[in-house]
Symmetry: C2
Amino acid sequence: MSDPPGEFQLIAAIRERIERAGAPESVPGLILGSGDDAAVSVHEGASAITVDALVEGIHFQMPPFEPRNVGHKALATALSDLAAMGAGGSEAYVQLGVREGITEEQLLELADGLGALAATHGLAIAGGDVTRAPSLLLAVTAVGQAATPDALVRRSGARAGDVLAVTGELGGAAAGLMLLERPELGAALDEPVAAGLRRRQLEPAPRLAAGAALATAGATAMIDLSDGLGGDAGHLAAASSAAIRIQGDRLPVQAGVGAVAEAAGADAFELVTGGGEDYELLATLPPDRLEEAAAAVAATGSDLTVIGSVDSGAGVELSGPGGESRPVGGFDQLRRRPAPPDRS
Amino acid sequence: MSDPPGEFQLIAAIRERIERAGAPESVPGLILGSGDDAAVSVHEGASAITVDALVEGIHFQMPPFEPRNVGHKALATALSDLAAMGAGGSEAYVQLGVREGITEEQLLELADGLGALAATHGLAIAGGDVTRAPSLLLAVTAVGQAATPDALVRRSGARAGDVLAVTGELGGAAAGLMLLERPELGAALDEPVAAGLRRRQLEPAPRLAAGAALATAGATAMIDLSDGLGGDAGHLAAASSAAIRIQGDRLPVQAGVGAVAEAAGADAFELVTGGGEDYELLATLPPDRLEEAAAAVAATGSDLTVIGSVDSGAGVELSGPGGESRPVGGFDQLRRRPAPPDRS
């Protein structure tokens, strides 16, 4: 196997590709970007900071993932956390781990995916580090901004009487993964529908604009759907010391999810409520702000669907499509399988 | 093999151990710490941000590393980057990757090491994420503060006529690693000397106080010695568009390095100039600020030694202990072996 490129030559090539993909070299407040011991920024107002990672063999396999999907999705998962605060993204810092057998061209394609998503959201890749690792991995630190700390929406503000709403559609990421692993499951689907499912798994769109709109429209609590609706609703309920009731018959389901589940002999409702990785936003709102919030989210090109309510108490109560009570699971990053139903 | 602990239970246990080790739960400017989608901070002045990672099998093996060494060193390497800017550390964000076979107790010991170093520097662990991974890994994002962007020292400010100085002593991390791998090399050493070498490899001390002192005392450029004196001097020379001349007979060498090198049949000068991981600071200063800088560094409990000068031109010129010219190498994180001599 030929030598990997040298560290400093590779970093320079990656930086060039990120900029060629359209990512801004700088953003307001960023004084010094990558290339020194640390980046330097000056931000008025409040900053939101989050870290997230994608690890080959755990979160993705190549194939079906292409390197550019990996770059996109690693940044998207971190930006989704900022979206759930209602923060605008400003900078990201990237720790890249490179295993043997990964070519320089693959790393540059990964940079293309990262850079293209950064360009979409006007985000600078302000720093990073490269090391060898036993598998390809990308740990992303994303930094976002808001005018004041109070403008950022926490998980803990849901109050009894609030409505529970979700952006976009659910179940697509889980169905997309099944389709990528077993393409024959898509035999009955129109190609644009199948492509939509695959894209949701490979290159999810962080809902930054919708998150900011919801924050402005009075969202009392918010979380992004990474581990699955049931599990993430449980986090929100626990942080807010409130009960969350989800009406399964109101959940917005991405086109094709039912057909893929049927072809696989799987339960579509499980994919929608426990599949995770859809990276939509789950928010709670005072009922009198709902109309304003729905309009604001619609203006970002997404939809807002009321799927339940907040009550006093604790835990998550999920009714199935026929109104029957259903157990609530989530996704455990360490066990890498559904977590046991929430006992809280 | 028994199940790993669940993700959320583990995160709670790690947070508890970090705080029990004395790390502050919050710091000035930190509005919201870990437990939500993102941390929230408000910092007046300038922030410095850096990312760094330690990967098992690449940067360390267990043994000789104990889990608490891993937690300490991962944070230390990131803080060392802040030290090289002259920034004070305020928060760190931790991405932890856990492989099979690592026990919960080992992860909590890792948290002890991380928390103890955070406590030493009054740093809050403000966020983090845990995932499975094929080897134990810790990626740390460190955030530091300064009054203004101009108070932070870049690599690019070295000017012809400046003196070149280094904090502390060199060569200890490389000799310490040899000693950990082959304890018999330390047969001729007093135990405190051997322990000092091992500690330099296992738990290096980031020079935050010395870095801040050098920034205040007029350092024109600064870099931390992670890849080795030769390579890091090369980065500083390139960023400053200047030539760096290093007098090998003036280098401060940690006690025991010569004896370990001799026992191993290795070249002590190579360990001192190319070994890397000492995490001391290399700084350039106007000659008329040297006395002030030396006093300021001494007040932090470290030493400052003049080891060369800055000249017009490019690249690094290194003279050996006898005054002869020596090739300059560095350390390449991807090749994980000495980089070829700098041709610039």
